[in-house]
């Protein structure tokens, strides 16, 4: 009962528009006040919740993406992707997905992809005569590849809350990320044929080669990250710092588009963005304490054990729950509040935590495409000027490819665990 009241109050506060993290702090302090204990430890719990070395990777990966966007590296990646697949029917749709795949190797954020690459992609597609609903939907759908292919802020947070190797999570996301890209490209091919979308002239080999060399330093970023982590040179957190330094270095040496002002703005904005996430992490620390006191994990586990009698049934129940919640609640909140309760239950069903993590991350990424709380839709709508309502309808068929990949990953765990097990 107490849990229902806490959850209900929190939901009401959030729906009214109270910031998510602040709403958690409101409700938690109310609980401590009502229970007559716990208040004197509130600040200590909030600070201790943030005092985690792996969490440092979050601001650092956000900063790396911000620098790459500020330095105009996205232009080079888009140009290279266009030279590679622009000549196929509906070429710019494929370019959109391929550029997102390239960018995902440097950025761990779907919204950095949708906001950074999205504007450029949609403008190019408009000029070439593509429909807005098609361009906007592909941009939103392809942005979900970002957090699947390393680096990934969502995976860093999952690694922290589930206490699993972030490096293994990074590797586990590669195959599902590539599968998502392939599934989206299949869908693009079908629609492009039906609507007779245009194609670019085929680029010459020397031109492709020139664009490849121009993009190569940026394309090497994931190798630096994964190579560094698995060769033992650095931890994922340190890899994030190296990515920041690498982004600055390649701009200084190759691209030379980053100014001091742009760099400072990227740092300034990142610190505020990271603080916004930190508020939620601090709020979650208070919630976790209450959940533990009220034995929430045990109660929720009982519910799942009652409705699921096999790992697959459990995964189906979890996926349905995340999908429905994801339509209304921000993905980050689901990850930080609900997933920590689910991870131990998944273990009792014998599900590999890496496998479970990849499923959760993929489903959370689908949730950023689902209206009414699809944040990727908001961002694409904002950068392109396509009305949100139009995006909300247009995105629906584009949910199919990632959902198909999600089903495949649920049924065939090797898709998520195969690559990490090779390196274990």
């Amino acid at each position: 009962m107490t849990l229902l009241i806490i959850g209900g109050l929190w939901l009401v506060l959030m729906l009214v528009g109270v910031p998510i993290g602040i709403a958690m702090i409101f409700v938690s302090l109310g609980y401590f006040w009502y229970a007559g204990r716990g208040m004197f430890l509130a600040v200590q719990r909030m600070v201790d919740g943030l005092d985690s070395f792996p969490l440092l990777a979050v601001p650092l990966f956000i900063l790396a993406a911000a620098i790459l966007n500020s330095a105009g590296i996205t232009n080079h990646l888009f140009g290279f992707a266009r030279a590679l697949v622009g000549h196929v029917r509906g070429g710019l749709g494929h370019v959109n997905v391929l550029a997102s795949l390239f960018f995902s190797g440097m950025s761990g954020s779907a919204l950095a992809d949708a906001g950074g690459l999205g504007k450029m992609e949609i403008e190019a597609m408009r000029k070439a005569g593509y429909d807005d609903d098609f361009s906007g939907s592909i941009t939103a759908a392809s942005s979900i590849i970002g957090p699947l292919v390393p680096p990934s802020i969502t995976m860093v947070l999952y690694g922290v809350i589930a206490n699993v190797s972030i490096g293994q999570m990074f590797l586990g996301g590669v195959v599902p990320g590539v599968l998502c890209a392939v599934a989206l490209m299949v869908m693009i091919s079908i629609i492009a044929r039906r609507r007779d979308y245009p194609r670019d002239p085929r680029q010459s080999l020397p031109e492709i080669s020139r664009l490849f060399w121009k993009s190569l330093p940026a394309l090497l970023t994931p190798l630096v990250i994964i190579g560094g982590i698995f060769s033992g040179y650095f931890s994922p957190t340190e890899a994030a710092a190296v990515t920041v330094l690498y982004a600055i270095l390649i701009d200084l040496v190759f691209y030379r588009e980053l100014t001091w002002r742009r760099l400072w703005d990227a740092v300034y904005e990142t610190s505020a963005t990271a603080a916004s996430i930190a508020t939620i992490v601090a709020g979650v620390s208070l919630f976790s304490f209450i959940f533990a006191r009220e034995q929430a994990p045990q109660q929720i586990a009982e519910v799942f054990l009652a409705i699921a009698d096999s790992p697959l049934m459990f995964l189906i129940a979890v996926n349905l729950m995340i999908f429905v919640l994801g339509c209304f609640i921000e993905a980050l909140v689901i990850l930080l509040v609900i997933v920590p309760i689910l991870v131990p239950i998944a273990s009792t069903f014998g599900i590999d935590p890496i496998h479970f993590g990849i499923i959760v991350v993929l489903n959370l990424m689908i949730s950023i495409m689902t209206p009414p709380m699809g944040m990727a839709l908001f961002v694409v709508s904002q950068v392109s000027g396509i009305p949100f309502q139009r995006m909300a309808w247009a995105i629906i068929p584009w949910l199919i490819p990632p959902i198909v990949v999600l089903i495949l990953v649920c049924v065939f765990p090797v898709l998520a665990t195969g690559l990490p097990s090779l390196i274990r």
Partner: protein
């Protein structure tokens, strides 16, 4: 609401701490190479700098009014009702932050004699971040209420 000034002291301090954080992590990596003797303080220093950066940044987020929120229901309210509702929310928020400020100060006092593991500082220096942050946030909320801008929702998203 967008702030009239692009940068603020708390935002600038938070951004500088982010740069320091990168420097500390870089020292930690270099410490594992033959170039340097591996320092033991880097991990704890990095964590503390991150906590300070986050708490100072929260005050900046408050200034920019860009906390992560689900503002669509609130945004549907008529302007005047929204202002009244959010002024009420801000007043409650003030109360919560005042409570956190008090608890934060008590935490600082309680941990003054607890030494950090590797840094020459008491752990009170870590918990002081939340205390200072709550004062800065209170300052921003008061300014927002006085300016009649409580109903200006400008949610932002980060992941």
């Amino acid at each position: 609401m967008r702030p009239s000034h692009r940068y603020s002291p708390e935002g600038t301090a938070s951004a500088i701490l982010l740069l320091i954080l990168i420097g500390i992590v870089a020292v930690q990596i270099l410490g594992r190479t033959p170039l340097m003797q591996g320092p033991v303080w880097t991990e704890e220093a990095a964590r503390w700098v991150w906590v300070w950066m986050a708490f100072l940044g929260i005050a900046e987020v408050e200034r920019q009014n860009r906390h992560l929120r689900m503002g669509f229901l609130g945004a549907m309210l008529p302007r005047r009702i929204r202002t009244v509702v959010f002024t009420g929310v801000d007043l409650a928020y003030l109360g919560v932050m005042a409570q956190l400020c008090w608890v934060g100060w008590q935490t600082v006092e309680r941990t003054l004699d607890t030494a950090s593991v590797t840094l020459p500082l008491p752990t009170a220096a870590l918990y002081g971040s939340a205390f200072l942050s709550s004062i800065l946030v209170i300052h921003r909320i008061v300014r927002r209420i006085l300016a009649g801008e409580s109903g200006n929702i400008d949610g932002s998203e980060v992941l």
